[in-house]
Amino acid sequence: MSEEKAIQKILVIGSGPIVIGQAAEFDYSGTQACQSLKEEGYEVILANSNPATIMTDYTFADQVYMEPLTVEFLSKIIRKERPDALLPTLGGQIGLNLAVELNDAGVLKEMDVRLLGTSLDAIQKAEDRELFRSLMREINQPVPESDIVSTADEAVASASHIGYPVIVRPAYTMGGAGGGICNDEEELRQTVRAGLDFSPVHQCLIEKNIAGFKEIEMEVMRDKRDNCIIVCSMENIDPVGIHTGDSIVVAPTQTLSDRDFQILRNASTDIIRSLGIEGGCNVQLAMDPHSFDYYVIEVNPRVSRSSALASKATGYPIAKIAAKIAIGMTLDEIRNPVTETTYACFEPALDYVVCKIPRWPFDKFEDGNRVLGTQMKATGEVMAMGRTLEEALLKGVRSLEQTDGDFYDPIFDSFSDEELTQHMLRADDRRLFVLAEAIRRGMPLEDIHEITKIDWFFLRKLETILLLERELERDGWSNERVYVAKQKGFSDTQLARVLNTTAGYITKKRREEGIIPVYKMVDTCAGEFESRTPYFYSTYEPFNESVVTDKKKVLVIGSGPIRIGQGVEFDYATVHSVLALKEMGYEAIIINNNPETVSTDFSVSDKLYFEPLTVEDVMNVVDLEQPEGAIVQFGGQTAVNLANGLEAQGVSILGTTIESIQATEDRDSFEQLLNDLDVKHPGGKSVKEKDEAYEVAEAIGYPVLVRPSYVLGGRAMEIVYSKEELSHYLTRFVSNGHPVLVDKYVTGKEVEVDAITDGSDVLIPGIMEHIERAGVHSGDSMAVYPPKQLSEDVKKQLEEATVKIARNLPLTGLINIQFVVHEEQAYVLEVNPRASRTVPFLSKITGIQMARLATKMMMGGTLQQEGYSTGVAEEQVGVYVKVPVFSFEKLRSVDTTLGPEMKSTGEVIGYDETLEKALYKGMLAAGLSIPDHGSVLLTVADKDKEEIVPLAATLVDLGFHLIATAGTADILKSRNLPVTTVGKVGEEQDVLSVIREDKVQMVVNTLNRKRKAHTDGFRIRREAVEYGKACFTSVDTASAAVDVLRSMSLTSRPLMNQGGTFL
């Protein structure tokens, strides 16, 4: 029982949009916290600007405010709701920073809001480098020698006495934004300059480089009685030097003796006690591999990415328990939700090995700098469990979906030893494969250890895998050898490669020989106590623990790691599908491998299999569970890609059928379908040969939109304007066997429609109109609901086309259609027979629980039964915009210009009475700093020069000063607009220097047709990112921003409940 009787209403701050360094883990922790608080009878008010999350669902909090996470809006919410307390420690760095700001602004005091959990004092002590270091010195905890600096000169002075290389860490940033290892003065100056800009307090830490030390993390919990436990210890395979978010991590620690471990355990508990944290805390430590020496690297006085991982790795729900501690409960009075017989005050014991591997976005950002360092670059992560380390590692590798399940990347075959060495010296996202290749070709482990500093223990484990490969290659199949290989985590595709056969053959033979996996339970206590957790992982051992019930079962396939193009919104849909299945009386079984998400919380589904999403791994579960069917509709492209393989082995795919996938993904069938239905489309063709491509392009006329068939998030999609460009494109993409689609590029308004069908009726919950014209990926566009600029006739066309297509595809459930509207005519661009990114957004706005409804349709329900009929649902009052959020400051050398390839990592919502107000809130929530006065830099491509004029005129009206490069300036001058001309890159007082010198507050730069990286435009855009200027790369976005500038008084109101109306 809580002792804080006075508190009844608690405000929880979420973490906002998904960016690199702050992903779905806070949806998981926030959702758990809200549930946990409601369980104890509190009224929960939630503030989070991210509409794709599960926590912002009406079911998890009493009131949800999807408003910008700024002091201004939180103050409004606090004044309106008058909460008794604020819980800021579950919304990541954003939540913590806001708590500090709200306190500084005096709002907490004025409104008498108590801060729960960790005190502000503790937050400041942990976050402020200097306070933290002096506290560490007080309690005799060693910290690496370092200095706080606020200028580049100070940094250089500091480094000269610490000695290069040094590490730069900006204060109060997440994911280490702006930091890095610097080897010389030049690198240092550059890094510090960016770091100071990123730090909200303009401070950087210059730190002794302890690269090569073991990097250890401890997840600690403490309650008000000073009870203190270590929930989980983790060891990074990558030693200190690579950000922990970018490191391959295993749990528990592997190479620490008990004595080593207790030294670090004592340090961690001393630290959490000295900070007085009540709740969860993450302590990062570095330990010398050659002595007992260690350093405290960092402390996060809150629930973090690592705590989500630790929760899934151990089964111990940290966020849930942290929320209970925050309201005054103690660990020894909270039940362990896993065993239900013991208490939360204990330290989980694992009887398996956990491996986490980050998922990086470099498959999309081929130009991006892949080298890993102190600044996190991963967008998501996978986790895998096994009874051997090799098993956990290899299951993790295939969960990444970057190979066909194999532990082999042929690209490194052709690398020279020298090149491999270089790749090991400067580790990038592919280093596991680089290490594998190095070991495979017999490079001595001594050398590899010397270069990478990776502990011998882990190198030996990699060697074990490769020696086993060699043995299989040499001696061929024997049941014992294959069984051993399976115990070490080999997939059937890996076995097929080394045994020189097909994966299909291996699978068949393996089943014949009875080499099949068993499932073990995750129970927090290594089997010491009886548990009923429905949380399992596979392994190859004699005894199976997963008891199959005789209930009707449905398997829901999750969406795997968060990546660009496949984010938390698919987890939202997955969770809702599971809830719907449970409601309908089915046993809902989920398979997924993302430790950050709500779907992998074992309390969500009836049964959770934490497994890689490959046909082999899913089939193993199917073979055991014998479900009625599998749902692939909610797991994004990951799940859809499995449909074929699963159906081939007799699994019934519910909702999205194979035929519907083929009809929409295979270009010829798609054309055929649209022609048959008499639905307009831009026209285009699927080609395999270059010449064919030129012919098609000539026939439909340039510009054309080209992309490989079967793509995700517009990967490798481009608009080409000439034969020369097309040739260049084809050289890069036509080679890998897949056909390339050549479509007419129809410029116009892009519109997105999501619909739910039961096979005959087709419900359209809402139509969304994009701000940017076709050409910008739908995931990167700002989108508006309800559409503001579509005529009734166009809306009718959209509805009719959607209904026709949905009815004529063999599918039930969700379907997503992208249209382009050109001269009052709607053309179909793309049809996705599955849940789209916009499902949570539209569900929350319209009150139609789309994923739930779709699941019911898949299981044989009808829209009529649910009270719906064919057509567009009645439009809601108000305007809702979705604004994409990017992580460009974390991804150096990635071009920020928007195009057909998706680049955003997350999204926010803005809603209000008018479009401008909604846009303003959306942009604010997205962190776009739009100035209300100052100078705007305009530098646009020739094609956009006419269009920029009205925008420039408005800016002048609003009192802005215009700065432009010569070409753009000329046209503005010709229209009598006042403008200052600046030089091209490299000239005196050039366009880059005005950005650097803070002479402009906003940049509009559009891309020239010539598509090549590292042009002047590229440098302008990157410079704007590095200096935190709002930079628009589409005239449409810029115009919208300028419209917003004409605003306006603001309101604040909560999201409506399901089926409700506005206040």
Binding site: R225, N227, P252, F261, C345, F346, F457, P542
Partner: protein, 361 residues
């Protein structure tokens, strides 16, 4: 190939490592994720076959520092996987090399989670590690006919008294199978330590004029050593006393309480213990198969100070008249959390107080 055979008929195949001998002992499981070297050399495991629930054992090798005794007395080791290439700066040899040198057999490749569940459900029981060719029926018959040993304390206790001289408080440790960690705790406090065998009489102990007597841990059933209980009984009231593990059980028995065998014991480093006075819960290191009966305390001069948060068993006792107290767990840790190390200082504080009072009189 070798196999592990349990008294209940369970047979599990695996690979041999360490000694190639066949062994017979009591099978138990231990849930710590680190500390296998300390566990294997803890005399309290005498005559037991220890199953490690953590699947990778031997990762950091065996070093020269972390032994709890020189000659390990456990009978066998069961693991999922033992590490052939350990890595740690203190590593001297692998677990395989160590067990070979000490002639202790191990078996790897066992589904230790399943084995743990069997022990949890059916209780600790007799078990054998034998060659694959050895008849399982034969083994079962042999096990039925053979009793588990009762002389573990005699086996592992010191033969003769010895002294580790220093200038601090004079502490006599009665050795029922003492871990080095206990000695270390007293050394750190500069105590003058006399270690005596378990059957040393009270008279002999008192002749040495100790400032305090410490009762160590030890293997097996406290009922097997009634002479030790008698000694403790005679010492109570004459000298401040602190006991851990076996020592704790002997204090209980000496005061008239009873002990019983636990279904599968407490063996791990994550055992939560609630202290009634401070209302705090501590993480403790534990290794015991027997426990003091809670309901037998009422009729004694003892009171329960601490209990297990997991199963409410008695974890701490205090004499209501004399300066005598005890805990069921290992405040010296090694392996495990060091959260309760302050108990040694508390004992020494009591010792100093008593000493002071005597001098003043």
């Amino acid at each position: 190939m070798r196999k592990l055979i349990l008294e209940d008929g369970t047979v599990m195949k695996g690979y041999g490592f360490g000694s190639e001998r066949s062994v017979f002992g009591e099978i138990v499981f231990q849930t710590g994720m680190t500390g296998y070297q300390e566990v294997m050399s803890d005399p309290s495991y005498c005559s037991q076959i220890v199953t490690f629930t953590y699947p990778l054992i031997g990762n950091y090798g065996i070093n020269r520092d972390d032994f709890e005794t020189i000659f390990p007395s456990l009978f066998g080791v069961v693991v999922k996987e033992h590490c052939a290439f350990p890595s740690n700066f203190r590593k001297e040899e692998s677990i395989d090399e160590f067990l070979k040198a000490r002639d202790i057999p191990g078996i790897s490749g066992v589904d230790t989670r399943q084995l743990t569940k069997i022990i949890r459900e059916n209780g600790t029981m007799k078990a054998m590690i034998v060659d694959e060719s050895f008849s399982s029926e034969e083994a079962l018959k042999e096990m039925q006919e053979t009793n588990l040993p009762h002389d573990q304390v005699e086996t592992v206790s010191a033969d003769k008294p010895y002294v580790i001289p220093n200038r601090g408080e004079r502490i006599t440790i009665i050795d029922y199978g003492m871990k080095n960690g206990l000695l270390r705790a007293f050394m750190e406090n500069n105590c003058h330590v006399t270690v005596v065998p378990y059957h040393t009489s009270a008279e002999e102990i008192l002749r040495q004029k100790p400032d305090g007597v410490f009762l160590s841990n030890g293997p097996g059933n406290p009922a097997d050593i009634p002479e030790a209980t008698e000694t403790v009984k005679q010492l109570i009231g004459k000298v401040p006393m602190f006991g851990v593990c076996m020592g704790h059980q002997l204090i209980a028995r000496a005061c008239g309480a009873t002990t019983h065998k636990l279904h599968f014991g407490h063996r791990g480093v994550n055992q939560p213990v609630f202290d009634k006075k401070t209302k705090r819960t501590y993480m403790t290191s534990q290794n015991h198969g027997y426990s003091v009966d809670d309901n037998s305390i009422m009729s004694t001069n003892l009171e329960v100070t601490q209990y297990s948060l997991n199963d409410n068993t008695v974890e701490g006792l205090k004499h209501s008249i004399y300066p005598v107290f005890s805990v069921q767990y290992h405040p010296e840790s090694t392996p495990g959390p060091e959260d309760t190390g302050h108990l040694f200082e508390e004992f020494l504080t009591v010792v100093r107080q008593e000493k002071g009072e005597k001098t003043n009189v």
